[in-house]
Amino acid sequence: MTDGEVMLKVAGYDSQALEELYERYSQLLFTLINKILDNRELAEEVLSDVFVIIWQKIEKFDFKTNNVYTWLVLLARNKALDVFKRNNNPGLMPEYNDDYVNEFIIPKLSGSIAPLELEKILSKKTGIADALNKLTDAQKYVIDLAFYHGLKEDDIAKKLNIPAPTVKSKIQVTLGNLYKKIATEIN
């Protein structure tokens, strides 16, 4: 059964399908969440929240593009970063409600995105990891601050004490190069 088929069953409130999705994705999503929160216990709690969100918001998944992998990874990232920010800036974050989840937690993927499935990605993992490891330390650090710490370009510039345009430039060059390398690895 493909990831897309599993999601379709989840959409039919099939709890066994949700369990199947958990079996497939829990390791990857937990690793990502734990990387962001650096707290195993909290990461487990957030992981369970992510699967509850999947259950509750399955209608937000686009079955036309059917990209389960990217949707789940970005959902987990958004949720973990939100928890991280709320824990570190209590009172400064907007109220967490249904509208907030729809706007800031549920990923909005492009209508033209190509489908990705975990099995296919894992089969290419070594090549993708090689491409990532070829980044310079500075490139890795900027990507790390943005993706795992949720810092904005201005925050990264302040943190690294470099001009904001330099940060923008570094991100554009890094992602551009990475895309070429990974596209080569995947294809």
Partner: protein
Amino acid sequence: MDRNKSIDLIKSYVLGCLNPEVEKGLKSLMEDTENFPSQELGQYQNLVAMLPLNLSLETPGAEVKANISRKISELRAEPESPKQVEEVVISDQILLDDDEQVFIYESPQETPEMFEEVSENAEVLIEENIAAKETLTPLKRKAEKIEKVMPKTAEEHKRGNKMRDVLDKEEFEKMIKEYIDAYYLKMFEDMREESKKTFYIAIAGAALAFIAFILALIV
């Protein structure tokens, strides 16, 4: 906006590091611009989603799955959920004392169809279901034990006891009255009988004394 400029913004956007004002502008572009590079947006979204592949995979604790199951069950248990209205079944029993049992209600597995029929008077129907099942419970159970799992039934049970107490009191008073009446009337009757007997004995004694006196005069 220039296509290349849009793609540069997309790279920062997918990493989540665009400053809020710029992000807002880009989102407007996505919605309003016909030839927005949405294919590139998708490619870079897929790219950033691959970043975690560089991490060493960790396994979450076994309790996470149970936690998810619990949270979803809690969602199912919300009063708005129609499945509680549709089917309430007795699924388990907890043995209390030898002659006391309490039934726990468990909702069945929800199906999509159950979501299609949402009743406005769910609360009433739930109460009716519980009341209907009430007839299955043993009469001798203690209200305070039942209250832990079935507050409404316990309340009714307590109210029943209270009613019974009132009836018992009336009955008791009636019995006491009857008993008092019966006992004292009988006592009064006995006393009257005793008095009558004494009276007749006295009369008889007086008559005997009178006869004796007359005989003595004759002799």
